[in-house]
Structure formats: C-alpha cells, structure tokens
C-alpha cells in the first residue's frame, strides 16, 4: 500500500493485476455491456491511486475498490438516467456473443433475470451483485456499499424475496430453474 501511495508503478500494476476482474465485474454487473466500461474501470483505479495514502490496511483493498466501483457506476447511472444491468449494449440489445445451443436458452433466462433485477433499487441491486455475483464477504460488501452489516442483511433479504418472486413470474427463469434443478447445467 505504501508503495502504491508513493506512485510506485509496479505496486499499482500489481493492484490492477489482482483486482481488475473484480472492478470490471462490479461495473459490468451495474451497467452491462457498455462502451465506457474500461474507461470507468480506469477511473476506479485512478481514484485508488489518489486515495491510497489514506488506506492504512491493505486487507480492506478489495472492499475499497468494490465500493469505489459501486459509486462510479451509480454516478454513471444517474448521469445517464438509465437503469441497466447485465445485458444491454448501448443500442438496447443484447450483444451477440459466442453461444452454444444451451446458451441460447441461457440468454433468454438472462434477459428475464435482468428484468427482475432491474426492478430492485440501485443499492439493493448492488448488494445482490457484490454478495451473490461477485462473492464478497458480508463485511466486505457492507464496507463497499457504505452501510452497516445489518443494513446489508436487510437489503439482501429483500433482494432475495424480490428476485425469487420475480423469477417465479418469468417463464424463462422458471424453465431455467426447473432444468438446472433436474441436474442440468
């Protein structure tokens, strides 16, 4: 941390190597496929470089970077006045990506999951993404969101309820759950 705070390129590069996927994952979870994704990821690391001297404990770096990514994503969402999640290209369509036949069904389920998650509040969606999609620990996710652990628990509980109820009302998701519950991938 001290080396990064001094502007040591090797240290900053090492932080990038280790956490770039996490940061990009959080941004992608918030904004979806987006032209600005890599630019915003860079903003997150620049914010880290600027604030590195204030981070006393390197063990909090993961939640710190996730938190900065959440805030930058939230600002971007506010700026654009659009709410998107895993999915949409700037034109509003799912970008075509390499698929297997099974993935074609997955895309439909993914669209449905997007619709469900898009109905969550921004904070609740971020809570879901950090905890369940990115796999952050409770304390890490709470720190990233700037809320207490108990608040995060409440958000996750409500997110769980909303996601499961929403999924039950989406035929593609119901089919996805039925299929995967039978031992499918």
């Amino acid at each position: 941390m001290e080396a990064a705070a001094r502007g040591d390129r090797e240290a900053i590069g090492a932080v990038w190597d280790r956490y770039a996927d996490l940061v990009r994952g959080v941004l992608y979870g918030s904004l979806g496929a987006d032209h600005a994704l890599e630019d915003l990821a860079q903003e997150v690391f620049i914010a880290f470089v600027r604030g590195a001297k204030n981070i006393a404990d390197g063990s909090v770096l993961r939640s710190y970077l996730a938190g900065v990514a959440v805030r930058i994503a939230a600002l971007e969402i506010r700026r654009r006045k659009v709410r998107r999640w895993v999915r949409l290209s700037p034109t509003g369509e799912l970008p075509e990506r390499p698929t297997s036949p099974r993935d074609v069904e997955g895309r439909e389920a993914l669209r449905a999951l997007h619709r469900v998650l898009d109905r969550l509040s921004t904070r609740r969606r971020h809570a879901f993404v950090l905890r369940h999609v990115q796999g952050l620990e409770m304390l890490e996710a709470a720190a990233a969101l700037g809320v207490s652990e108990s608040t995060l628990r409440r958000e996750l509980l409500r997110a769980r309820e909303q996601v499961l109820i929403g999924a039950s009302r989406e035929p593609a998701l119901a089919e996805f759950l039925r299929r995967t519950g039978m031992g499918g991938a």
Partner: protein
Amino acid sequence: MSEPQTDDELERLAALARRASAPDLGDTGRRLLRASLLARVDSELARAADSRRPWLWALPALAAGVALAVWGSHARSLSYEVRGAARDGAYVRAPSDHAVTVEFSDQTSVLCAAGSRLRVEETDPRGARVLVERGGADVHVVHRSNSAWTFVAGPFEVLVTGTRFGLDWDPVRETFELNLLEGSVEIRGPKGSGPVAVRAGQHFHGDALGHSMVVSDANDAARAAVAGAAPPPSEPNSALLPTDAVAEPPSAAPDSRSDAPARPEPAKTESWQQRITRGQFASIVAEAEQRGVPNCLNACSAADLRALSDAARYTGRAEVAEQSLLALRKRFAGGAGHDAAFSLGRLEEHRGALAVAQGWYDTYLREAPSGAFAAEALAGKMRAVSSLQGKPAAAPLARDYLSRFPKGVHVNTAREILGEN
C-alpha cells in the same frame, strides 16, 4: 410453474448472472489497459509534482510570507454591502426584475444580473471567495499588490488578482462563460484541469458535460452567439482543452436546477451523445467544424469522438467519421479503441474498400474476440472474403459463424455461402 423459494435456486440465479461476466480482455487487452492506466498515473503524478514545485521556488519568500500572515491575522477581512436586495447571510439573491450590487470594502464590486444567485463564502484581508450558484455577474476586482479573489461556478474556478469581467454559470447545462474586459485571470476546470489563462478581449467557454474548455476572441464568440451557434470559433488563437472530467452531478442544491434565471439562452444545450439520440447529426458535425475538427480529434472525450463519428457517418461525411474513429484508436486503448476498429470496417465496407474493411474486421476480432460486435465483425469479414475471393474461400468463416452464432441475423448469408439455401 413452480414457485422458486430456496437458497439453492437463488444461487443458481446468481450463477446465471456470473455467466454473463464482463467480456474477457485477453492477454493483449489486459496489457493495453494496464499500460493505459500506468500512463495516466504518470500524468497525474507529473501534474501533482508541478503543483508542488512552486513551493520550492517560494522558500526564500517564506519568511516574508510568515510575516505577512502575522500581519494579516491582525488585518481586517474585507466587508461588503448588498445594494438592491436585503442581505440574507452569505447569500445574495437578485430578484427577477432587477440587478443587485455587492460592494466590498476594497472598492471591488459585483453586479448580479436579475435572477442570479451567489454566495460570499469567505472573505479575508486580500479578497474573497464567491460562489456563483446560477446566473450572470459583472465583476470589477480592484487590483492591489496582494489581492487574491476566487470566483467559483460549478467545477470551474476563476483566480483573480485585479480585473474586470462578466461571467455566467448555467447549473442546468453546466456551462460557464466568461468575457474578460481588463487584466487576466486563470481558470481551473473540473478535477483540477487547467489552469487556462484568459486575457483581456478573450472569451472563455467551459462545458462540464461536454468536457471542454475553449478560449477564443470575444468578438467571434459574440457573433457566434448572435447567430445561435456554439461560441467557440476555429480561430488560430483558440484553444480547445479537455477537462478530463467525470461528469458528476453538480453539488449545487437541487432546487437551483429548477429555477433558471431570466437571461439569454446559452448556445450549447446538450452533450453530443444526447443530441445523437435526438437525431441532430448535422449540427454536431457543424459544431465540430466550427471548433476545428483537428482540435476535437486531439482533445475530445471518447464519448464525443464516438458521437462525432456516428453523426458524420449518418450525414455522409465519411472522412470526418474516419478521422474520429482513427483518433479513438490512437487515443483510447480498450473498449472504445476496439469498437472503433469494427466501425472502421463498416465504413470501409460501405465505401467498397473490401480488403481494407476485412483488415479492420480482423483487427477487431483479434482484439475483442468475444466483444459486443464479434458477430457483426465475423459476418463482415465473411462478406468481404466472399466478394473478394469467392464463396469457397469464405466457407470456413461461414461455418465458424454458424457454430458461434447459430441464432445470428447473418445465418442466411452464411448458409448461402455454404450452398445450404
């Protein structure tokens, strides 16, 4: 349809979300992005070093400064009076039907236009810090050897020692205008960008959303405003500078956005991205040409370059579109640069330069094999090869397309190449 209720089901939904992870960068992409970040870190550190350096040169003057500070602590801060409206703490609110004057004890005066609002944040013996929340003001700062005034409008900060100027801040459009009548000022933009020096007879136009700061001859700016166009002309003495700002919402009170003062409408209203969505393609190209296309190619944000390339393409200005896309390639590694390769392929294909188009599609597929335009790039390459070398040569590409994008919109073309239709 059964109702999902278990944690196991939630985990499977989360796993579904994880499958749609951010596009894989690949080794090349990772290296490019890492290098891009480190280059920017270098730039930030150099800027920080520049800002610290004056202190080294100023060390000999430190003793005098300390003495001045001691004197200053005993000197009285400037006082001020508000004429034309009741004083309300630090706020100065000009009614909608007449201007208000703020007179400081050093003879400096600020004439607030009708409907404007500002706040005198702090005063000291050498000057004051004045926050312009909205509207316009004519400022006359009386020069003294140690005077130091700061006027702040959104992310723009004007540093003044002695001068006369008019300013205008629109918090809704986040645009800042300054006409300098006497002396000189320095203006810092969002996130510490600048400073930009503005001299007597010059006009400054700052656009926090458009990420630009432009200094031009005041007469040209006035003519452009009268003509209803954006103020920055393409005069040789113009300077188009990026503000390098993340366009964060302003910290001004929300209600300041909903009650704009009565005054002439600023020329620029929306970002280029917003105007693209409104179909205002020709005006975007015209504005870029007015500023000077080379200036934009060197200084505009990635978003503006993308908007300009789209607008130029839609209006048949292929050369401007090509320049914009090449600038994106040159200046922005990663997503924006990769996508520009695909767009260049499209552009060349429409021009009929199929071999060149094939090269750009190849570039995109190499740099972003799983990118958002992978299907379109592969289809474009398939079309180009089919036209240039015949269907047998394109057959492997067609098979690849059908394998990777079995539901893609170019399935019929691929099957036709394979003779399956």
